[in-house]
């Protein structure tokens, strides 16, 4: 027994909010494809409930034996636009409702994969799924949706970008919470255990267990011990901390995979904040040295944090995957919210930050009267950052009808609350109306 090591772990779990953020089972639905959509939905329901029926129970057993909180148990499935296309239905809401019913039956927190991959153009299923999104999100509780509109390899589908702006506005007008369950990606990854953007890629095994670990509070606490020291020391401290946290994820993931007789996929070490005090990425950046997140120097601090997290995690587990880095969802991070309220953090700065960290403009509430073309243009900007930098970027933006800058919106639970942020009032309409494709960048040609 090494008392100091045991004590350190105890502190991480008890006082610094260390947890396994999610155990996510990926399930392929390729064998559920059927020209009859009722039969397809029955196969989907049966397969999910059979394969993931014990997921919650196994998660609870691990929590009890190892004393480590597992915040979420989730399922991802093959993009439904691929599964449903054979049915020739003109609306996929039925598929979303099937996923929702399955999620409720097995007691999980979310199910992801109501997804279309349209980065290089639409197949018919992509078009129908995207058209179904506003209704599907409104009619379900646990279903998370995503659309990939661009990639480094294939460029940006500007028709999809234009359409997604309209989808976001339509979904918001039905229920503003809908857009908390919808992510628009560039370079979406196929093994992401986090929501709302998780789906099970077509090249993945039939079933797989992926794990997402978090712990901004642990990193902040470790950094409090190296105040005033050079950046090298800060980076090294983050790496060591990330290593320990990832090892815990590797253990939990392999235990869950064994118990569920499922291959173990990846550990995604992402510093994912929650609205709880002491669980904030903004506070980590402020510990590194900016007085408030959003001011000059924030991007540099975030770049170092994101890179050090990845480096620390790499050797700690058999396969690192997903997004792995730092998330900056505004409404889920008490420090980010305060910065927005104080006027230190705005969308332009957030966009710069997304060039160096995981994901993108995340959980940002905007005025309800934001034009759909402006939302499309925000998506296009993020997709361009992802495409050129060969990284994943995303937009999860939440127009709130009837609210404007200065107002606040409550999301409840883990999603927190958010001040309505100002968008640039100048129009982007003509850009979006062009449609077409932004060609892949020159550095995509590596063959």
């Amino acid at each position: 027994m090494n008392s100091e090591q045991i004590y350190e772990t105890l502190q991480m779990i008890s006082n610094e909010n260390l947890d396994v953020r999610t155990i996510t089972m990926g399930i392929s639905l390729l064998d559920c494809i059927d020209s009859d959509s009722d039969r397809a939905c029955q196969k989907i329901y049966d397969k999910i409930t059979q394969k993931a029926g014990k997921l919650v129970q196994v998660g609870q057993q691990i929590e009890a034996e190892y004393g480590i909180p597992i915040a979420n148990k989730r399922v991802t499935v093959t993009p439904i636009s691929l599964i449903a296309a054979a049915s020739h239905d003109n609306n996929y809401v039925k598929y979303a409702q099937t996923l929702d019913r399955a999620a409720k039956a097995i007691g999980i927190d979310f199910i992801g994969g109501f997804t279309a991959l349209a980065q290089k153009g639409y197949q018919e299923g992509d078009r129908i799924l995207i058209n179904s999104l506003p209704e599907a999100l409104t009619e379900t509780d646990y279903v998370c949706a995503s659309v990939n509109v661009g990639s480094t390899k294939s460029g940006i589908n500007m028709d999809a970008v234009a359409q997604m702006g309209a989808v976001v506005v339509d979904a918001a007008n039905r229920d503003y919470m809908n857009n908390a369950k919808l992510v628009i990606f560039c370079n979406a990854v196929e093994d992401n255990p986090f929501m709302a953007g998780g789906f099970h890629g077509v090249s993945e095994p039939d079933t797989v267990i992926n794990v997402g670990v978090s712990g901004p509070g642990v990193v902040k606490n470790a950094l409090e011990k190296v105040k005033g020291q050079p950046m090298d020391v800060v980076a090294e401290t983050i790496k060591k901390t990330a290593f320990k946290v990832t090892r815990m994820g590797q253990l939990v993931g392999s235990l869950a995979a064994d118990a569920l007789k499922t291959p173990f996929g990846i550990v995604d070490l992402s510093l994912a904040p929650t609205a709880a005090a002491g669980d904030s990425v903004a506070e980590v950046l402020e510990e590194i040295g900016v007085s408030q997140v959003g001011t000059h120097g924030t991007t540099a601090a975030l770049a170092m944090l994101n890179d050090a997290v990845k480096k620390g995690g790499l050797m700690a587990c058999s396969h690192v995957g997903g997004l792995s880095g730092a998330f900056i969802p505004v409404s889920e991070d008490a420090g980010m919210i305060k910065s927005v309220e104080d006027g230190t953090l705005n969308i332009a700065k957030l966009e710069a930050m997304t060039a160096v960290c995981s994901v993108g403009l995340d959980m940002i509430a905007v005025p309800g009267n934001t034009p759909k073309e402006t939302i499309s243009a925000m998506i296009a900007d993020e997709a361009a950052i992802g495409m050129i930098n060969s990284k994943t970027t995303a937009v999860r933006v939440i127009p709130v009808p009837g609210k404007t800058v200065g107002d606040t919106v409550e999301f409840g639970g883990l999603l927190g609350h958010a001040p309505i942020m100002a968008v640039n009032p100048a129009e982007s309409k003509r850009l979006i109306e062009r449609g077409g494709t932004i060609p892949a960048p020159v550095h995509s040609f590596k063959n």
């Binding site: 027994m1 090494n2 008392s3 100091e4 090591q5 045991i6 004590y7 350190e8 772990t9 105890l10 008890s14 609870q60 057993q61 009890a64 034996e65 190892y66 004393g67 480590i68 320990k244 946290v245 090892r247 815990m248 590797q250 253990l251």
Partner: protein, 89 residues
């Protein structure tokens, strides 16, 4: 299954006695004991051997209740979690 029982809080008479009694009642053998003060906290750690098949949730609840009675925090965790985080093998 080797587990680590930890007690955190304020030192007082009878902690080891009460914890040991509850362990004995559950037929759990003590492999190693240490106690120290860390960052001003009384910390006692026991390596214990939990019989296979024991319900971990009930065990944790029993020690959690004892902790409340003694005014300390008691946890029982499979030792692998500490090994995984701190040791490469």
């Amino acid at each position: 299954m080797k587990s680590i029982l930890t007690v955190l809080g304020e030192d007082k008479v009878g902690i080891i006695a009460e914890v040991s009694a509850l362990l004995a009642k559950n037929n759990i053998n003590i492999l190693d004991v240490s106690q120290t003060i860390m960052q001003g906290n009384f910390v006692m750690m026991m390596a214990i051997n939990v019989p296979t098949g024991m319900n971990n949730r009930e065990l944790n609840e029993a020690f959690s209740s004892l902790g409340k009675k003694l005014g300390v925090e008691i946890t029982v965790r499979n030792a692998k979690i500490y090994d995984a985080m701190h040791n490469l093998d």
